[in-house]
């Protein structure tokens, strides 16, 4: 079907008053040869939409350029079922950010030029678009969810999946289900008024899981190997030595935590020196057996001290807070107090961290007579009357000694996940079938584990996408992801279950999951141009691309998040999307008009990330944060990771005086929605000076800045500052070539 573009220019919101709309129409009609060009004073209104719809049916228009407001508003109105569409922003990023005093002809002319350029690039963009063909695999997609780990997180996740009507396979390495919670006596309160110990929820949960027809439980089973991609995972499950392959759609990893080894703790805490120094889990088992006694002589333990933060928030042990220990120690203090009316429970703490409703539980324990001492246990000695603790009391500002029957060390949580350093991709061919200690044994080019940022916890964009990992379709729930207590684990498991369902449904439609949820395009690859440089397979933030023996990329479209990092990485420009390509952006920037050097109107190209920088730019006008230079031209990019150096060279050759890249924050506190996109762009940019040197241009003409979505206030300063820097240089000598 031949493409027929319709260009519709809205004259509402002051656009018609400020701009010469007739001239804009002429750009579309005469210069861009758009067959249908129309104006409307209220395009997003019923009449305006009806006008477009009429053209879609009567005129055979099948591609749209909608010029008006930002693409971030009026989404519902312009959802017309047309894939090839661009929203040209004449209002938020043009009208609203330019300072045009009344009667200032030059400023008015500059504004008109900006609007005309945006019409041009909108038309070019749509011309370069194709309809995406959703990915279809040669084998059927599975919607089964594999849950690895049969503790409270895995059980909850499997149950949530099953209740929604999906099939779950629950794999447990051991003989029995239940995990760590099975060892627990009671649990901290999960419901109002948050001041009563609750019965262990596990028996009820187990009964429900075992009675659910949608859940297949496999005990004594480990995952030997995981091959494939979301919807198409072929997982080798080894049950008692017999391996069988299961096709699943997505995977939830809920392998939980392992308690920090108390043997590694500082000797001053006394673990190992006396049988009466025990860990929280040992105390829990004691309480479950109904015997809170001194291990040394079996006498009842009426005086029990709890050392919170045993090895946690300590750079030589675990540098992080395990989040749940304060609450479970409070719970155990109540065991002691409720066991004997004259018992004493001493909580020796750094800070009592009881987030949310657990503050009420803290009060409960205070009210019941729990004794709170802020400080550290400095020495433990055992004698006939029990243990003697020397505590550095930070509130009394003095050392105190106390005699207790038991000292309970609240040890922290470590993840059971095997993670890999995302920056050291495993070399091809060296991967063995099964790695000791690996949970999923992923057959991915970037390694068998999930990438981690620090402390071996699998990493995700934690602000926007919790439960996520850097491997599409694989979600981690519970303390395997980050330390947490039972209530948080259950919430986490439910969240991961919903994510697991979302991905199998999206994959079945050929659609991406976030951040480009619903995007039907996926990268295509012109094989004959490949030089086996492996940049795409190494750089993909989601490990979506495997490699064959020769080093050719093997795309897994259902793993893909459509960020375009592979496209930006490819030096041969052979990777593209139906609706996004190196050629598209290159043609757009070349289409804009560059004034002669004598006009003294510089042109600065701004590549802005759609996730953070574009919303921040939209907010500049909306929040009256200040005017932007009329010399900038903004092109939105999916992610800075998709930035191709070719565009920089093209921009310089076309006569732009400078290029500003606005990406997300990267590093350990990264905000990039595609994890590594902006970091990779920065690395690529470090090589741009070679290109500029070759063109005999100053390297300061290209600059990358980190923009946060909240940065609207400072953006005018950043942008106008860069424009001023560029204006101080001579004009680009390539203008007019």
């Amino acid at each position: 079907m031949e493409k027929k573009i319709g260009c519709y220019i809205c004259t509402g919101c002051g656009i018609g008053d400020a701009l010469d709309v007739k001239a804009l129409g002429n750009i579309a009609t005469k210069e861009q040869k758009i067959p249908v060009v129309k104006n409307h004073e209220f395009l997003c209104g019923t009449e305006g939409i009806a006008m477009i719809r009429k053209d879609l049916t009567d005129e055979g228009v099948n591609a749209l350029v909608i010029a008006g407001c930002s693409h971030r508003v009026k989404n519902e109105e312009f959802r017309l079922g047309i894939a090839q569409m661009d929203r040209v922003d004449l209002r938020d990023k043009c009208l609203w950010v330019l300072d045009v005093p009344e009667g200032d002809d030059t400023a008015e002319e500059d504004r008109q030029m900006m609007a005309e350029d945006y019409i041009r690039i909108g038309c070019v963009k749509v011309k370069k678009m194709n309809d995406p063909n959703p990915y279809e695999a040669s084998t059927p997609f599975s919607k089964v969810v594999l849950v690895v780990g049969g503790g409270i997180a895995g059980l909850t996740a499997a149950l949530e999946v099953a209740r929604t009507g999906y099939q779950a396979i629950l794999v447990e390495k051991g003989e029995t289900l239940g995990g760590q919670v099975a060892k627990m006596h009671k649990v901290s309160p999960a419901r109002a008024p948050y001041n009563k110990l609750e019965e262990n929820p596990l028996p009820m949960l187990l009964a429900e899981v075992k009675g659910n027809k949608n859940i297949r439980i496999m005990n004594n089973t480990v995952v030997q190997k995981t091959v494939g991609a979301p919807g198409l995972f072929d997982v080798t499950l080894n049950h008692n030595g017999t391996a069988a392959v299961e096709r699943v759609g997505s995977i939830i990893v809920a392998t939980g935590f392992q308690a920090y080894d108390p043997g590694k703790l500082d000797k001053k805490l006394g673990y190992g020196s006396s049988p009466d120094v025990i860990t929280s889990m040992e105390f829990e088992e004691m309480a479950k057996a109904g015997k809170i006694v001194r291990k040394s002589d079996g006498k009842p333990a009426k005086r029990v001290a709890f050392s919170l933060c045993a090895g946690q928030r300590d750079t030589s042990h675990l540098e992080y807070c395990s989040g749940a220990c304060c609450v479970y120690s409070l719970k155990q203090a109540l065991y002691v107090i409720e066991n004997h009316p004259d018992a004493s429970a001493y909580l020796i703490y750094q800070e009592v961290r009881t987030p949310g409703q657990m503050e009420d539980f803290y009060r409960k324990v205070q009210n019941e007579g729990g004794i709170f001492i802020k400080g550290d246990v400095n020495k433990v000695t055992s004698g006939s009357s029990g243990l003697t603790l020397e505590v550095n009391d930070k509130l009394l500002r003095q050392g105190v000694t106390m005699e207790v029957d038991l000292l309970v060390l609240a040890t922290g949580m470590e993840t059971t996940m095997d993670t890999t350093d995302p920056n050291s991709a495993s070399p091809v061919g060296k991967q063995v079938d099964e790695l000791p200690g690996s949970i999923l044994n992923l057959q991915y080019r970037q390694g068998p584990g999930l990438p981690s940022l620090k402390n071996n916890f699998p990493d995700s964009h934690f602000i926007c996408f919790p439960y996520e990992t850097r491997r599409t379709g694989i979600y981690v729930a519970g303390p395997a992801r980050r330390p947490m207590g039972i209530a948080a684990t259950c919430t986490d498991a439910a969240g991961a279950a919903l994510k697991a369902i979302q991905v199998v449904e999206s994959v079945a439609r050929g659609a991406a999951v976030h951040p480009r949820a619903g995007d039907l395009s996926f990268p295509s690859f012109r094989e004959e141009g490949c030089t086996q440089c492996k940049r795409c397979t190494e750089e993909c933030p989601f490990g979506a691309i495997n490699e064959d023996e020769k080093g050719n990329p093997l795309f897994n479209p259902t793993r893909c998040r459509r960020c375009g990092t592979c496209m930006g990485a490819c030096p041969q420009k052979i990777i593209s999307f139906a609706n996004y390509s190196v050629d598209m952006i290159g043609s757009m920037l070349k289409e804009m008009e560059i004034p002669e050097a004598d006009d003294e109107k510089p042109r600065i190209l701004v590549f802005a990330c759609e996730n953070d920088a574009i919303p921040a730019l939209d907010m500049v006008g909306r929040s009256h944060a200040g005017a932007l230079s009329p010399y900038i031209r903004i092109i939105p990019l999916r992610c800075m990771g998709s930035m191709s150096l070719v565009w920089i060279a093209d921009a310089m050759a076309s006569g732009y005086d400078g290029v500003l890249l606005m990406g997300c924050r990267h590093g350990t506190d990264y905000q990039c929605h595609n994890v590594r996109g902006s970091a990779l762009a920065e690395i690529r940019l470090s090589k741009v000076s070679e290109t500029l040197d070759r063109l005999q241009l100053e390297s300061s003409r290209v600059k990358m800045v980190e923009v946060n979505i909240m940065d609207a206030e400072t953006l005018p300063q950043v942008i106008n500052g860069f424009v001023a820097e560029i204006s101080a240089l001579d004009p680009n000598p390539y203008k007019g070539f």
Binding site: R363, Q366, I371, F372, L395, V400
Partner: protein, 198 residues
Amino acid sequence: MTYDLTFAKEVYENSEEGHWIKMCMQCGVCAGSCPMGFLGAWTHSPRQLFQMVRAGLRDEVLSSTDMWMCTSCYNCIVRCPRNLPITHIIHGLARYASVQGKADPKQSTHHFAKDIFWENIVATGRVGEAALTMKLYFKDGIGEGIKQGLEMKDSALGMLKAKRLKPLPFRGKIKGYPGFKAMLKKAFELENQKEGKA
């Protein structure tokens, strides 16, 4: 032993509002809010006193002058995130120390409250400002009294002119003084009953 709860329980049961002390979470907002803290008037902030109660430091707490420095500004009550009536707890501790005979009788506020102010008001049923002021000035001897009196003379003269100070120390008893005495007697009775002394 430190953190033996005997003293803490004694305070929880006998000192007014003392049972709140166990609910303190030692955040220190009271210490930061107390105007007397900026003047360096106390050695232990309210939260430290509370921890000392919980640690069983009976003598240190009861003989402390810290709780006598409270000006009842109520900043701490307003700000306490745990809603502890700190001002009242402090007053309770002060009174408990006094009742227990642990408070220093020469400590100014203790002395003023217990002897000077109380005697003054009980004698007539109303506050006699001149007598009250004089007794306060002369509490440390004649020389000290004259010195302090001279320091404040301008203020006193100003107040006299503005008719804010009655020059004569004795204005006689209030109307219905016997009723007032009867009320006090009943109050003492009730208090003794509460404290198990009756």
